[in-house]
Amino acid sequence: MSHSSENRGKQDRGECELSLTVNGKPETVRVFPMERLLDVLRGELGLTGTKEGCGEGECGSCSVLMNGELVNSCLIPALQAAGTNLTTIEGIAQGPQLSALQASFLECGGAQCGICTPGMILASCHLLNKKPEPSLEDIREGLSGNLCRCTGYMQIFEAVVQAARRRANA
């Protein structure tokens, strides 16, 4: 089969319509079932806050919450996200009000270049949802799937500890 744009147009009948909820909002997209969820979020839905760092599920920059569970969106085919409830970084703040984690990341220096930050915040959110008073070991383990090249993690740990306190006092 010859590779040209014309022929690719004909293949569009392999696409399917999927419904999912993203940050509380119902969305319907028309995509190939093997489109990566990461690309659906960034492309079809224009939610570019979720990042691609490695494309192989190692760096965690693409982390989102799917039905409340932390997942690497670069490893999820769109079809498997149908009917799910997704939370991305765009859904973390409550309007103009930053979440406890976001505020703590800012205060403690948890974000330097910022590219790992959305995934790191989602992973931290997932951790605090499961363990509202995490030990340092819990934090190290909870974030071990999110690589940061800038911070050496120290100030990220501080941010999570501070956010846990903030959440507890809220």
Binding site: V31, F32, P33, R36, G55, V71, Q80, N146
Partner: protein, 296 residues
């Protein structure tokens, strides 16, 4: 991203019966994909040969964990997180729980499944040596029915196993009879999290009273990343049985371990390193066994 989504088909029939029907009608044509933590990596690298995939993610029949007094039946679709969080698995099958904890980060544990780990059959897979020493049995399902097979000889060669083209793993069965054994596992990776094993060990052991002190009643030792398939050290196990744990025994088992395995040089490590560390960890297991007080 080195694959074109347009070139692939993925369907999700939503129930086990529909999936096994599909596999029966078109054997070898559809690749089952559960959590995708192996398949999608190959796909992204442009290295997935399959073009048609059938999703078995979240099939209710594969997610159940059934508990009975003699055994526990873990659905093949159970994720690593599910394994870690399950009270009975954590208490009675700690080697499986620790393997789950050591596989990837939290995000990958939420998606990776035990069945997927078995069928992907990486020699480095962390849960497989645990299944070997717990002498798991697999329930395989197809349209033809179900059959139950021992796990210990399920893998026949690198990425080859006793699974027919129309079969899926439905469940993994573990007998609940290891409470008075010492459970030992260690994973050796390039870093403390998110590492593919250079070597992993799972072992069970217990002692019994002997004429002059305790001797080994039984040991079971399995290693990953030292052969094309996960390996039980049968010769070492036979040799150690009935003997007291003394320095001479430990030294001999170290040598026998090195002789029994066929590690290679690869991108992660060297054959010599793997061989030496395997010997060290088997020795460490035996020394822990001596002091464990785990007796028949």
């Amino acid at each position: 991203m080195r694959s074109d989504p347009a070139d692939y088909e993925l369907i999700a029939p939503g129930n086990l019966q529909a999936v096994v029907s599909l596999l029966a009608d078109e054997p070898g044509k559809w690749l089952p994909i559960a959590g995708g933590t192996d398949v999608m990596v190959l796909y992204a690298a442009g290295k997935l040969p399959a073009r048609k995939l059938v999703s078995i993610w979240n099939l209710p029949e594969l997610r159940v964990i059934e508990i009975s007094p003699e055994e526990i039946r873990i659905g093949a679709g159970c994720t690593y997180t599910g394994l870690r969080d399950h009270e009975i698995i954590a208490r009675e099958f700690p080697l499986l729980a620790s393997a789950a904890r050591w596989t990837g980060g939290i995000a990958n544990q939420n998606r990776g499944t035990l069945g997927g780990n078995i069928v992907n059959a990486s020699p480095a897979a962390d849960s497989l040596p645990a299944l070997m020493v717990y002498e798991a049995e697999l329930i395989l399902v197809s349209r033809r029915g179900e059959r139950r097979v021992p796990y210990v000889d399920f893998h026949t060669d690198y990425k080859k196993m006793k699974l027919a083209p129309d079969e899926l793993i439905r469940a993994i069965c573990l007998g609940r009879r290891f409470s008075n054994y010492l459970h030992y596992a260690r994973k050796v990776g390039a870093r403390d999290a998110q590492a593919i094993s250079k070597l992993c060990v799972a072992a069970l052991g217990r002692l019994r009273g002997g004429v002059t002190g305790s001797v080994i009643d039984e040991v079971r030792i399995a290693l990953g990343s030292v052969a094309p398939v996960p390996l039980r050290l049968r010769e070492v196990e036979r040799f150690a049985k009935g003997k007291p744990v003394e320095p001479e025994l430990v030294q001999l088992t170290r040598k026998m371990t090195s002789a029994a395995i066929q590690p290679i040089d690869d991108i992660r490590s060297t054959a010599r390193y793997r061989s030496a560390v395997a010997g060290n960890l088997v020795a460490e297991f035996l020394q822990q066994l001596r002091g464990s007080g785990k007796t028949v």
